[in-house]
């Protein structure tokens, strides 16, 4: 009995939520039509970032931010860089087949409806020239910058990651980047 009641309540809640969203969308249309067309939406507007975290630095002066960047829009978005209070330089990096990391030329392209995974050993947002060393449990704010100039602020907790060294091979290129 209990179980059934709970289900019903949940379904109803979901239904009301759906109605509420529709109403919101409609009113949005009526009051601010210019902001509601896809053509006008900025890249930042159509992006959702989840599960963001910053790795506890294991090398002096630099670390990475990871997470999921979902393009919820109809057009591709391109992440080109960013900024942060704690970093002098923020770049979008990839890791080559040889395990070296480098700036992604032209930025990270995320097709419409796709999600880019930023992960240790793969693509990441590189925070360089750190002014402080963020400690585990602290929150770091990073402003992501897209190709059209739009920006998105992301707050990410600092976590330690095991085996993170795979993407931070101390190679010449890497230490150059840090400087």
């Amino acid at each position: 009995m209990k179980v059934i009641n709970m289900k019903t309540t949940k379904k109803l809640t979901a239904l009301f939520a759906a109605i509420a969203i529709t109403a919101l969308a409609l009113s949005g249309c009526a009051t601010n039509a210019s902001n509601n067309t896809d053509a006008m939406a900025t890249m930042a507007d159509q992006v959702t970032v989840t599960d963001a975290w910053v790795k506890e630095p294991t090398m002096p002066g630099m670390t990475g931010m990871f997470g999921l960047i979902e393009n919820t829009g109809d057009a591709e978005v391109v992440l080109v860089g960013g900024s942060s209070d704690i970093a002098g330089m923020v770049e979008v990096h990839e890791v080559t087949a040889e395990g070296q990391m480098q700036k992604i030329e032209g930025g990270l392209v995320i097709a419409a409806g796709k999600t880019a995974t930023l992960e240790v050993g793969g693509n990441h947002v590189m925070l360089m020239n750190l002014s402080t060393t963020p400690a585990v449990g602290e929150e770091v704010t990073v402003t992501l910058k897209f190709k059209d100039g739009s920006t998105l602020e992301v707050t990410a907790p600092v976590k330690s990651a095991a085996g993170g060294d795979e993407s931070y091979n101390e190679n010449a290129e890497m230490s150059q980047m840090g400087n």
């Binding site: 209990k2 179980v3 240790v120 976590k159 990651a161």
Partner: protein
């Protein structure tokens, strides 16, 4: 979790959940009124009958394409591995919820690093809370390198406890007087490697891999704050192995956990849950863990009747020697034809029973078996160990025939902070 939270958990159960699964989420006392109407082709899980496997009566082969035996029913229905328990509420999860408790239990104690000060403790607890929230939902921890292992939450709960040193580093004025090593008992043979600790995690789930993975994630996050002191793992019967609500058996074969305060019958506030008097701990509890070795080789040589007299209860069903059913009240006045008490003076239940109703504890024992030893991880919750656990253990220490076959080898006391809400973190009241 407060009773109000019951409907919140576990989440997402489809209709036609397996019998054992449905029974799990209905507390033992509600079994008879439990049961769910089901859609076409789904199995209606109804009360005890379903829980004890009477589904097999519907399972004779037919040609309608429906499952042919109870195994197929099980696989067609929801798996217990999908079960989740909300970490939020007035009290931390893993103490009275879920009911029944999970099958695989791990206690892990940590020592804080010298550098872990008040601010670092706050950061540490936030990270731990983030892990608890995600893992108990069946999502990988942030930065989880094996997120697939988190996909089977199996009713995972992670309960956090604080040793005196942690509280002292946050605020020396907030250390409860009982948060210290217990007074020594004459028979104790304590081993430091199973005792003490500044921070305790109790990780419980119905799947051992879930427990191991959750602990690995937490251990990694704790690495910059604390070092591991000890880990003690225990187990009950596997989930679904017996009807929900069955009292567990310990390694001596006894039904263990019969006489225990019940949140649906007893007032837990002031007995198990700390009240407003306890300040930051209100809604929390005081936790005692005793590692007790069992000398099973000599116990096994004891005649069955003597084993039953040692406890004061029988072995087949755990009935008091003055009764026939597990739930029969023990009659401590009854005498046999020789005029001797039926439940002997040295019997464990006579010695453990107090006439003072405040001198009760919520027992949460589990079995352990490792390094060639077996025994009981005796765990209990109360508001004050000095007025609840200690007087009981003093009586047992003085006289209890069971002492011939058990040795207390580990001891630890932790303050269990209250539960927390979404957006908050475990132990936040300490920083108030």
């Amino acid at each position: 979790m407060s009773p109000n939270d019951n409907t919140e958990q576990p989440t997402g159960e489809p209709l036609g959940a397996s019998a054992s699964d449905s029974a799990r989420r209905v507390s033992r006392r509600h079994l008879l009124i439990g049961g769910a109407a089901a859609g076409a082709g789904a199995v209606a899980a109804v009360g005890i009958g379903a829980a004890t496997g009477s589904l097999s009566s519907q399972s004779d082969s037919d040609n309608t394409g429906s499952p042919k035996n109870s195994k197929e029913y099980e696989s067609a229905a929801k798996l217990f591995g999908e079960g989740t328990v909300s970490p939020y509420g007035k009290h931390q999860a893993g103490i009275v919820e879920p009911n029944p408790l999970q099958a695989n239990i791990r206690y892990a104690a940590y020592d804080l690093l010298p550098s872990t000060d008040r601010n670092a403790i706050k950061r540490m607890l936030r990270v731990v809370t983030g892990d608890i929230e995600r893992l108990t939902e069946g999502r990988g921890a942030l930065a989880d390198s094996e997120p697939e292992l988190a996909e089977i939450p199996a009713n995972l709960t992670i309960t956090v406890g604080f040793g005196a040193e942690l509280v002292r580093r946050v605020n020396p004025n907030l250390v409860p007087d009982w948060l210290a090593p217990l007074p020594a008992f004459t028979r104790d043979q304590l081993d430091a490697s199973y005792s003490g600790g500044d921070l305790m995690l109790n990780i419980q789930a119905d799947d051992p891999l879930t427990v191991a993975h959750a602990h690995r994630m937490l251990m990694r996050d704790l690495a910059s704050f604390a070092s591991i002191r000890w880990v003690q793992s225990g187990f009950r019967r596997a989930a679904g192995a017996e009807p929900a609500g069955t009292t567990m058996r310990n390694m001596m074969g006894q039904v263990d956990g019969t006489v225990n305060p019940d949140p649906e019958v007893d007032e837990f506030d002031g007995l198990v849950w700390e009240t407003a008097k306890a300040g930051w701990l209100a809604g929390g509890s005081a936790f005692v863990l005793r590692r007790i070795d069992m000398l099973l080789d000599t116990w096994d040589k004891v005649a069955r009747s003597a084993r039953e007299e040692t406890i004061g209860r029988d072995l087949p069903v755990g009935a008091p020697l003055t009764g026939t059913k597990e739930t029969d009240p023990a009659d401590f006045e009854a005498v046999n034809s020789l005029g001797l008490p039926v439940i002997p003076d040295f019997a464990h239940i006579r010695r453990a029973r107090s006439t003072d109703p405040n001198e009760r504890i919520l027992r949460r024992g589990v079995n352990f078996e490792d390094n060639g030893k077996a025994g009981l991880l005796f765990a209990c919750y109360q508001v004050n160990p000095l007025t609840q656990f200690v007087p009981i253990q003093q009586r047992l220490d003085e006289l209890d025939l069971l002492n011939q076959w058990i040795v207390h080898v580990g001891s630890a006391v932790f303050a269990i902070p209250p539960g927390f809400k979404k957006g908050g973190f475990v132990g936040e009241t300490l920083f108030g």
